[in-house]
């Protein structure tokens, strides 16, 4: 029972640099995932414009009928968002943990070019371990 359907990482210009889906539900082909990522980047920016008060940093949670979308934006502007089942707990801490993995295995990788698609094996391995459902529950503690 995959509570998490997919994970996207977007660079600060809105381009998709990482996409991972877990299982057949919510699978998207490459072109669609690129479009969805760019669209999300724009929506995130527009939502800041519509804020009634100062200091809005964009959409953090989108709730739909059949899924929830949690988004985390790091200080440099990289966005991590995860599409999951409605009501899945601990997604915020999972996103922060994924950000830690990103800084450790991607940014510190000397062969990785910033803003380019992520092709780091260690990142993939650790990410797969992190999204196993029992691990996600541990993160919530």
């Amino acid at each position: 029972m995959a509570a998490i359907y997919s994970l996207y990482i977007i660079n600060k210009s809105g381009g998709l640099i990482f996409y991972k889906d877990c299982g057949t539900k919510g699978r998207m082909d490459t072109n669609d995932s690129l479009r969805v990522a760019s669209l999300w980047h724009s929506m995130h920016a527009i939502s800041q414009q519509l804020s009634p008060v100062n200091g809005c940093s964009g959409i953090e949670l989108l709730q739909a009928d059949t899924f929830d979308l949690h988004c985390f934006q790091s200080l440099p502007g990289t966005k991590f968002f995860v599409v999951c089942e409605p009501g899945t707990p601990h997604m915020e801490s999972l996103l922060r943990y994924i950000y830690e993995l990103y800084t450790d295995y991607v940014l510190k990788n000397p062969f990785y070019e910033i803003e380019m698609p992520i092709r780091c094996e260690l990142f993939d391995i650790n990410l797969s371990q992190a999204v196993l459902s029992d691990r996600v529950a541990l993160l919530g503690r």
């Binding site: 359907y5 809105g14 539900k25 919510g26 998207m28 082909d29 072109n31 669609d32 479009r35 969805v36 760019s38 669209l39 999300w40 724009s42 929506m43 527009i46 939502s47 800041q48 414009q49 519509l50 804020s51 009634p52 008060v53 100062n54 200091g55 809005c56 940093s57 964009g58 959409i59 953090e60 949670l61 989108l62 709730q63 739909a64 009928d65 059949t66 899924f67 979308l69 599409v83």
Partner: protein, 194 residues
């Protein structure tokens, strides 16, 4: 015994905003994007002028609906796309031929109620709750971020709309709402939402 002088002993608690409730503002749009009603209770920041603000809000919702319909993990077979080409919303002017997917292509206009729709989103400064009726009336309520699920409240507001606006024989559909009764009832109701 007085240890400290004067009025600092009991500073007055923070005075709630003039409206005294959580709601910042509310929009009602019809299916063509005309803003039928805009009510503001507490909005310190105005980024754009009203017309642009309404258009931006409608555009955001339209695109978000299209996004959620596409991202929907539950594969529903929607009437197969009659558009052979998919217009990429981000790359203006470039058109990609796409084989018609289960969920239709991104950007294909959806009927009200067709496809998965979102019902709210939250940022760090506000929460936006959204409801679309089968007739295409979109009701949007922008509140404090810690507000709970407002779907029932939005349904009630739609009920008020039906009673005071739709059933009003003088009301011209598609024009902005000017009903005093509706405004009063709405105001009263929204102030009572915790």
């Amino acid at each position: 015994m007085q240890f400290f002088g004067g009025s600092e002993i009991n500073p007055s608690p923070q005075v709630p905003t003039a409206s005294g409730n959580n709601a910042h503002m509310m929009y009602v749009f019809n299916r063509n994007g005309v803003c039928l009603l805009y009510k503001e209770w507490n909005r310190p920041l105005h980024t754009l002028n009203p017309q642009q603000d309404h258009k931006l809000m409608f555009g955001l919702l339209f695109s978000l609906k299209s996004l959620t319909a596409k991202m929907d993990p539950v594969k529903l077979v929607i009437s197969s796309s009659i558009f052979p080409f998919d217009v990429d919303l981000i790359n203006f002017g470039s058109i990609y031929p796409v084989c018609s997917a289960d969920k239709g292509n991104l950007g294909v206009p959806q009927l009200p109620g067709q496809g998965c729709s979102f019902h709210s989103f939250r940022t760090n400064t506000y929460k936006l709750s959204f409801m679309e009726t089968p007739s295409g009336i979109k009701i949007i309520l922008v509140t404090h971020p810690k507000t709970g699920d407002l779907r029932e409240s939005l349904k009630y507001i739609y009920g008020l709309y039906v009673e005071y606006v739709a059933k009003n024989p003088i009301y011209n559909p598609g024009s902005p709402v000017k009903s005093e009764l509706f405004n009063t009832a709405l105001d009263q109701y929204v102030r009572s939402i915790s």
